[in-house]
Amino acid sequence: MTRRARVAFAGAIHDATAHADGLQLVDGRVLAETQVVWLPPFEVGTIIALGINYADHAKELAKELTTSANDEPLAFLKAPNTLIGHRGITRRPRDAAFMHYECELAVVIGRVAKKVMRADAMAFVAGYTVANDYAVRDYLENWYRPNLRVKNRDGCTAIGPWLVDTADVPDPHALELRTLVNGEVRQRGNTRDLINDVPALIEYLSGFMTLAPGDVILTGTPEGVVNVNPGDEVVCEIDGVGRLVNTIESE
């Protein structure tokens, strides 16, 4: 069972692994989860995110979509300014009326992948983690959707706590996801309902862009996205992968 993290502690950045009492640094020190600052659990390269990759979420958004869904995955890119670790703080714009979380299975690439066929795709996965990819829908415009003002804000993509080895996630397409806001379940789904599953996404993306170790695919979110407010604690859980905690603060 290997769950790896990167944390800041006592003036340095450390690699760590999961431990019954929290986490263990490479040098052997065992620490509680609350003693460290959690960073994204790996060196993140290109961040690829999927829109509308669960059928139920597509229905939820139907009102604002101005074109029909097509067969090609709706993928977009994000930049590292968006990333924060477990137990981080995400800032909510003062003027926003609708900012919501998105609990997503994140697939981390482990080997250079170019024109990979579906049947071979899983061999290119290093592991999995949890992502919470916030959107501020007030700023939605119909130009290069989803526009960066909605989806590429500083600190609006929490990721972690752990990078979990593929060996420890035997079936990434049978994982329950849920989001709790202040302890109450607000979003629920299962990765079996992914429209484009993990090998399909790797085949699709690697067909036109070379994926490299550290690149990450955020596979989309199921239905149940609701507004969050300053002070809310938002917890995204994926069974067998992790429990990612985030707190909303006002800008």
Binding site: G45, T46, I48, T66, T67, E72, L74, A75, F76, L77, K78, A79, P80, N81, T82, K114, Y139, E141, N142, W143, Y144, R145, N147, L148, R149, N152, R153, D154, L205, G207, F208, M209, T210, L211, A212
Partner: protein, 219 residues
């Protein structure tokens, strides 16, 4: 020579030339857009797209021509977060020529990544320090294909000149040292085919030269 920053991000800007926006005509008010853009329209050219002058641009199998998007890139020297227009250029370390290559496509609503982010689709030229260019808002850009100039543009008269673009982008996301923000491509971007050689010259920045090679040959 530009060396890609390990964690830097290259951002493209769309429809920042008045003629590029005007070319869409009344369509900007119609579905799927429904309204002209309010905030800067941006996209990301990821690391797999970055190449340098002299490297081949690979024309994918099944694609006849690529669109050559010649633009000036601002290279960020210090973090730009909520900077004013007056402070913005102080965050710029210098400039690069960028060739924002695309597979031609008609819609700006939700274009597929496969039009913009294929390997080699973002040649970036040599870094030129800010002091070497009098103003980023008054440089001429010329695109030559096989030695013949086929397109001329200028950074003058942009909807958002460099400082304003940087200020408005930094209002919602931080640009970090090493990031590149393109000013945008003018209307009528030329197209080129495998076997041709594209050269972009920008006043004060020199040239960015790249041959186009068919995918099968490049493999």
């Amino acid at each position: 020579m530009f060396s890609p920053p390990r964690r830097g991000t290259v951002y493209g800007s769309l429809l920042n030339h008045p003629d590029a926006l005007a070319a869409l005509g009344a369509a900007v008010h119609e579905p799927p857009y429904k309204a002209p853009p309010k905030a800067p329209v941006l996209y990301i050219k990821p690391r797999n797209t970055w190449v340098k002058s002299g490297d081949a641009i690979v024309v994918p199998a099944g694609v006849d021509e690529l669109e050559i998007g010649a633009t000036l890139g601002l290279v960020i020297g210090r973090a730009a977060c909520r900077v004013s227009e007056a402070q913005a250029l102080a965050c710029v370390a210098g400039y690069v020529i960028v060739n924002d290559v695309s597979v031609p496509h008609a819609s700006y609503y939700r274009p597929s990544l496969r039009f913009k982010v294929r390997d080699t689709f973002c040649p970036i030229g040599a870094f030129v320090p800010r002091a070497a260019v009098a103003s980023p808002d008054a440089v001429g850009i010329a695109v030559a294909i096989d030695g013949e100039v086929v397109h001329r543009a200028s950074t003058a008269g942009l909807i958002r000149p460099a400082a304003r673009l940087l200020a408005e982008v930094s209002a919602f996301m931080t640009l970090a040292p090493g990031d590149v923000l393109m000013l945008g491509v003018a209307a009528g971007a030329p197209r080129a085919r495998a076997g041709q050689r594209v050269s972009i010259a920008i006043d004060g920045l020199g040239r960015l030269d790249n041959p186009l090679v068919a995918e099968a040959e490049a493999a």
